[in-house]
Symmetry: C2
Subunit: 266 residues, 2 copies
């Protein structure tokens, strides 16, 4: 089983869009996938058509240890489960402040769910912060996927993101490594995108071979800016159902091929 955390504390860089379309594409290719929504905005849940109100079990209940992942998951498509979120999760940061081992609650829940459910992939969508929810995901995962808009402000935050990953790797989770940076909303006609991509690949080439991100590379498949990707969430569908022939669907299909290709060595 591969456990992937999709994270970047910079806002609006394509985390949710990547989590949903990656999960849906892997499921359509026959992999058993569980997507966990760790953002109180609950956009990954919304994007697959779930609005968890009232009594619906969410990831908040898993952190509160009143539900297991198996009890909180919903089947959204063949081979695709989602553990939804809702705004209650915003309180988790404060509520967990004094709980010992608060950073390892999700890891324990995932380990427990292995007894009952089998998945090929767990994909976790994170909020735009490096708080306790994101740290829980980093502590539970083996791989980090970093969606990145090729803009200066987004690139600037990467060193802090790598530092946090290295800290989690050293203190909480020796298996954690950065798999790749996924360039999202790539505007092919602009120099900025090409310059940023070049800066980033230089940075990754020159990084310390012992760093937790040493093996990180820019993923070959770039996700081009494509308005259909922004339309799809309002229909509660991944891009493959909403507009299967658009650039967005092509680019995410290429990303999924690349992810599946690395399974053998995964």
């Amino acid at each position: 089983m591969r456990t992937i955390v999709v994270m970047n504390q910079k806002g609006g860089v394509g985390k949710t869009t990547t989590s949903v379309n990656l999960s849906a594409g892997l499921a359509a290719a026959g992999r058993r996938v569980c997507m966990i929504d760790l953002d109180p905005q609950a956009h990954a849940s919304l994007h697959v058509g779930i609005e968890a109100h009232g009594k619906t079990a969410t990831i908040y209940d898993v952190f509160a240890e009143s539900k297991t992942l198996g009890e909180a998951r919903q089947l959204v498509a063949s081979n695709l489960w989602c553990v939804p979120s809702n705004i209650d999760l915003a309180a988790a940061e404060m509520e967990l402040a004094d709980v010992p081992g608060r950073e390892l609650i999700l890891k324990a829940a995932i380990n427990e769910s292995r007894q009952n459910e089998t998945y090929d992939y767990i994909v976790m969508d994170c909020p735009p912060s490096l708080g306790v929810l994101t740290v829980n995901a980093l502590a539970a995962a083996e791989e980090v996927f970093i969606p990145l808009q090729p803009h200066f402000l987004a690139l600037h935050g990467l060193s802090k993101l790598f530092e946090t990953t290295a800290l989690v790797n050293r203190r909480l989770n020796r298996q954690l490594r950065v798999s790749g940076v996924v360039l999202c909303m790539y505007e092919t006609g602009t120099r900025l995108a090409a310059d940023i991509a070049e800066d980033l690949s230089q940075f990754l080439m020159n990084s310390d071979p012992h760093a937790a991100w040493a093996g990180a590379r820019i993923v070959r498949s770039k996700i081009r800016r494509n308005i259909k990707l922004a339309e799809a969430p309002s229909h509660g569908k991944p891009i493959f159902q909403y507009a299967p022939k658009c650039h967005g669907a092509e680019d995410y299909a290429a990303l999924i091929e690349e992810v599946m290709d690395s399974e053998a060595s995964g």
Copy 2:
């Protein structure tokens, strides 16, 4: 003096870009402006050329009550001061958790600074969350500007944003009102942008006349997507210095006119 908070918990919608270009434009028009960076990512500071390392005073010191706003501010252009941020601010959420009155620290600091410094505008850039830093800004401000990318996921979060604003208005700050929603990264050729703008204006028209956002309207000037706006931060300059003739500079100049026009009734 007008105290404006630029906020939206949805990530990557144009908060920092709007805070910096609004502040810089107002200062260039002769207003005395203090921009306060409340985001631990410190992107507003970076965008005006400040990287606050080591001993440099930041907004964190103001929350820790070891520096006043006057001591932490830096003059970045004629009539334009910035109180910078840095990553230390990320710890504030936890450190303030049990401090009584933690939501009113910034309001007190702004009131104190009125004895020594005079401004026409205070503009506060917020992180992508509704945590204690954003609540401090809402408690201290009179006006809320909401940058919004005209996409479905960004629109979806607005009701929660309005609820939070209404709560702060009722419990912490009776003056607080939502001035306007600024459409950012507007892609004129797409139906999505027009549809979202239409949905939003219906929502605002039909809202409860007693709500804190009752007077809110979509600001007339839309900020079109323009790659120069994304290039400017890497030069540490607002758009008016970096590319004064581009669409981005035109659109923000129109926004500034609109903001100054409402001064008389402000």
